[in-house]
């Protein structure tokens, strides 16, 4: 049906490109495309011209040259004879290590602080408010540097652990030593047959998962519950323990010992790592605490009251009514905090932790003079990590979205 106010169709005039809203969008798009292309063209030609002028080809062959520098934390095989590519990988793994451990600790700290801030206990709630506001309102870089200073300045030197009545003693039955050169913790030694123990452990994790499914189905069918916690614990521990003892304890611990001027053996966890890890976790934890608090407050009180009216106990109310709804509010900002933590880990530079930024974007860049290539690779790395996390978040979001009918 055409009404009289509709413009005549069929006859297209050039002026419609500006005046008619139906065609104007095309005009705007074309202009935007041209402007974008022009800017991109300008940048690319400039870059090509500048690179030619400096005599620097744009290629990534330098990645297979000898790196020639040392990295103090090597989760994968690396020596100064390795290639730049290898150094890059070491940096990437180091970034991921601090990011993953940081996310775990930040979640623990944040959830505890967020729940305690809502607690009825006046003193604890105030204490948590001070923690949250204090950490949120001060730059994370300052926290990283300050933690590093605490660890290097306020901890004892290894030689104070010496002698009969030493000034300092190791913690946890002489297994952990906190010194100004790093913290020494026991290292796991994998002997013969340890692979079997690990496999059994992984299988028992699978067993727990299978048990959960079975128990849930049984509950749905009969309404009877099992002592789930104890059974799960038994599945987790018993098979691994039995095979461990049966094989004659293949996995042992190597304890750090004071020899010469320093601790030998065990695993040296560098101060740079601890400072970065603690600072990032506590800083992000403060943000997570706020997210958790907001999530719990977002669930209206009527939900709790309704659950009580149905006769649910407080624990079940939390598990079955409050948490599933609060998680929908909590998880998206939580994951963006994980993303922030991962990106903030690039501040490792301040304490000399050898992450992606310090290997590929630091020493490799300075040695080879390939700013463009190194920065592009580094940005691509961070971008890929971010996009993976965002994609995971989108999947989660669509799975918990309110089902509207």
């Amino acid at each position: 049906m055409t009404t009289e106010s509709d413009p005549a169709t069929g006859s297209f005039r050039l002026s419609q490109l500006i005046y008619d809203t139906r065609y104007r969008s095309i005009t705007i798009q074309v202009i935007a495309t041209i402007a974008f292309m022009l800017i991109a063209w300008e940048l690319i030609t400039n870059t090509v011209e500048n690179l030619a002028r400096l005599g620097k080809p744009f290629e990534f062959g330098f990645l297979w040259d000898r790196a020639g520098y040392d990295i103090n934390q090597r989760p994968i095989e690396y020596s100064n004879d390795s290639t730049h590519f290898r150094a890059w990988m070491v940096g990437l793994v180091n970034t991921l290590i601090v990011a993953v451990l940081g996310c775990i600790l930040a979640t623990i700290v944040g959830v505890i602080a967020g729940v305690l801030r809502l607690s009825k206990n006046w003193l604890t709630a105030r204490l948590m408010s001070i923690y949250v506001e204090g950490f949120r309102n001060v730059p994370v870089l300052l926290w990283i540097i300050a933690f590093f200073a605490i660890l290097t300045e306020a901890t004892p030197a290894p030689n104070t652990f010496r002698g009969e009545d030493a000034e300092n003693s190791m913690l946890f039955g002489s297994s952990v030593a906190i010194t100004n050169r790093g913290t020494y913790i026991p290292r796991m030694l994998f002997g013969e047959g340890s692979a079997l123990v690990v496999i059994v452990f992984l299988l028992s994790l699978l067993g727990i998962w299978a048990y959960n499914r079975w128990s849930h189905r049984r509950f749905e069918a009969t309404g009877q519950t099992m002592p789930n916690l104890w059974i799960r614990l038994a599945i987790l521990i018993l098979p691994t323990l039995i095979i461990y003892l049966a094989l004659g304890r293949p996995i042992g611990l190597e304890y750090p010992e004071l020899r010469g001027f320093n601790f030998q053996g065990g695993l040296q966890v560098r101060n740079s790592f601890i400072a970065l890890w603690l600072a990032l976790s506590l800083y992000t934890g403060a943000f997570i605490a706020e997210i958790v608090r907001a999530g719990i407050l977002a669930i209206s009180k009527g939900q709790t009251e309704a659950a009580y009216a149905l006769g649910l106990r407080p624990g079940r109310t939390m598990n079955l009514v409050i948490l599933p709804q609060a998680l929908r509010v909590i998880v998206p900002p939580l994951i963006s905090q994980y993303l922030n933590l991962t990106k903030n880990s690039s501040l490792a530079l301040a304490v000399g932790y050898m992450d992606l930024r310090s290997t590929l974007g630091g020493i490799t860049l300075n040695q080879t003079g390939r700013e463009l290539e190194c920065m592009l690779l580094m940005m691509a790395n961070y971008l890929v990590i971010s996009l993976i996390i965002s994609a995971a978040m989108n999947v989660y979001n669509s799975s918990v979205k309110l089902k509207e009918r």
């Binding site: 500006i18 005046y19 104007r24 969008s25 005009t27 705007i28 798009q29 202009i31 935007a32 495309t33 974008f36 940048l43 400039n46 870059t47 011209e49 500048n50 690179l51 002028r53 305690l116 607690s119 009825k120 206990n121 006046w122 003193l123 604890t124 204490l127 506001e133 204090g134 949120r136 309102n137 001060v138 730059p139 994370v140 870089l141 300052l142 540097i145 300050a146 200073a149 300045e153 990106k343 903030n344 690039s346 501040l347 530079l349 301040a350 930024r357 974007g361 700013e371 463009l372 920065m375 580094m378 940005m379 961070y382 971008l383 971010s386 996009l387 965002s390």
Partner: protein, 437 residues
């Protein structure tokens, strides 16, 4: 019947009893403590743990604040004073370093005789920001707020007055072109209004400013960018970032919501790229790579580059925050605007944005706070902000080995600014809250 009942019972009280004091455990401090600190075994444990934590912190901090040295020229002098007053091996704090170097921490290497200019810029900043923050002030003050960035630029960097004036003239020309061209058509007007100032700044503003300076030399002493530093540089970067990232963020958010797929694609790509990489890599791009992207031979100020990067960075985050606000608006609002016959920009300006921005205030202020804290990252590209200066001060022989006093100073300054920003956002939220409960 009631009278017979009265006779059948032995005793009926005919006067009221006087009110009694409530039991001792139900009043005052004891009641408060029972309710708030020891209401159950778990709460009692929490209280005890909290007390232990507080006690531990106080015990370690107390000697620090009771033994303060404020008058000394170096750390060793501090220690001598400590030995004299409280004896050796006592924990003490040497705040003399702040007294000695606070000017450097705040102003960087800005010439001391020109501090008044920095101070004036800061005072004028407070004047400029006041009408934005508090709606009770006269609206005419907003004109000054708009002019303030140029005033700040001129006061801080100095030099000829004609350059900032020519930049302002560019905006004036743009507005003029918009008015003239909007008689033809709205879209043409937007394009012309965007093109004219750019061409003016690129080709005409510089030479004309030079000529005018030759004719009428109006200049104050120039300060080089490398002399800027300290808290001042954080403030400058923060203010420019905040001022420009909000409008840019709004545009990006609108672009991301738009139906035009190319515009949308560009905006999404930009936002996701910026949000995906750490700010520090962008700062390194600004300091190392920008020369590759610009025509050979151009070289512009490092602080300007950092400003641009910080603004772009914050605007991507801002766009996401505002997109959240836009998404939270019910579709009915858009439809109502259409039903009233408002065009796109009018609908945005009068109906959508006021509500969307109100919803996103907490997020916007959080982005501001984040941006302000992130200005400390410029220390990595050779700009001496407060954190960079703490390293520089520690490197001098006088103050070698001093950490905490400097960190506390830096932390407190940032805390004051960031915390007041977050308090302000809470105040604004309460003020704009039109829901009736």
């Amino acid at each position: 019947m009631s009278d017979t009942h009265a006779e059948s019972v032995a005793y009926v009280r005919d006067t009221m009893l006087p009110e009694k004091e409530p039991p001792g455990r139900e009043v005052g401090a004891i009641k408060w403590m029972r309710e708030n600190l020891f209401s159950g075994w778990f709460n009692a444990i929490l209280t005890i743990v909290s007390l232990y934590v507080i006690g531990w912190i106080l015990l370690h901090l107390a000697p620090w604040f009771t033994h303060m040295v404020w008058n000394a020229g170096s750390l060793s002098e501090c220690r001598e004073i400590r030995d004299e007053l409280w004896g050796p091996d006592q924990t003490f704090s040497c705040f003399a370093v702040i007294r000695d170097r606070w000017q450097q921490l705040l102003y960087g290497f800005y010439p001391a005789e020109l501090y008044w200019r920095a101070n004036l810029a800061f005072v004028l900043f407070l004047v400029a920001i006041a009408p934005v923050l508090f709606s009770g002030l006269p609206r005419k003050m907003l004109y000054f707020s708009v002019l303030y960035p140029f005033v700040m630029f001129w006061l801080v960097w100095g030099g000829s007055i004609w350059l900032p004036l020519m930049v302002i003239a560019g905006f004036g020309l743009g507005a003029l072109a918009f008015v003239l061209a909007s008689r033809v058509n709205g879209l043409v007007a937007v394009i012309v209004a965007a093109l004219v100032p750019v061409l003016w700044w690129l080709y005409l503003a510089g030479p004309i400013a030079t000529d005018l300076q030759r004719i009428a030399p109006l200049a104050i002493q120039q300060v080089a960018s490398k002399d800027l530093g300290g808290f001042m540089i954080s403030l400058i970067l923060g203010i420019t970032g905040i001022a420009f990232s909000l409008p840019l963020g709004i545009l990006l958010a609108l672009g991301r919501q738009s139906d035009l797929f190319i515009v949308k694609g560009i905006c999404v790509g930009f936002i996701e790229f910026i949000r995906g990489v750490p700010l520090i890599t962008l700062l390194f791009v600004a300091s190392l790579l920008l020369n590759y992207f610009l025509p050979p031979g151009t070289n512009f100020d490092i602080i300007l580059r950092v400003m641009i990067m910080v603004t772009l960075f914050a605007s991507a985050y801002m766009a996401e925050v505002i997109r959240g606000g836009l998404a939270a608006l019910p579709t009915g609002q858009y439809e109502a605007a259409d039903a009233l016959g408002l065009d796109y920009w009018k609908a945005q300006r009068l109906i959508i944005m006021p509500q969307a921005l109100k919803i996103s205030i907490p997020g916007i202020v959080n982005t501001f706070i984040g941006l302000f804290k992130d200005t400390t990252l410029v220390m990595f590209i050779g700009i001496f902000d407060m954190l960079g200066l703490t390293n520089a001060i520690r490197a001098t022989t006088d103050w070698n080995g001093i950490y905490w006093e400097l960190f506390i100073f830096v932390g407190v300054v940032f805390f004051v600014f960031c915390y007041s920003m977050s308090r302000y956002s809470q105040y604004l939220e309460r003020k704009l809250n039109t829901e009736h409960r």
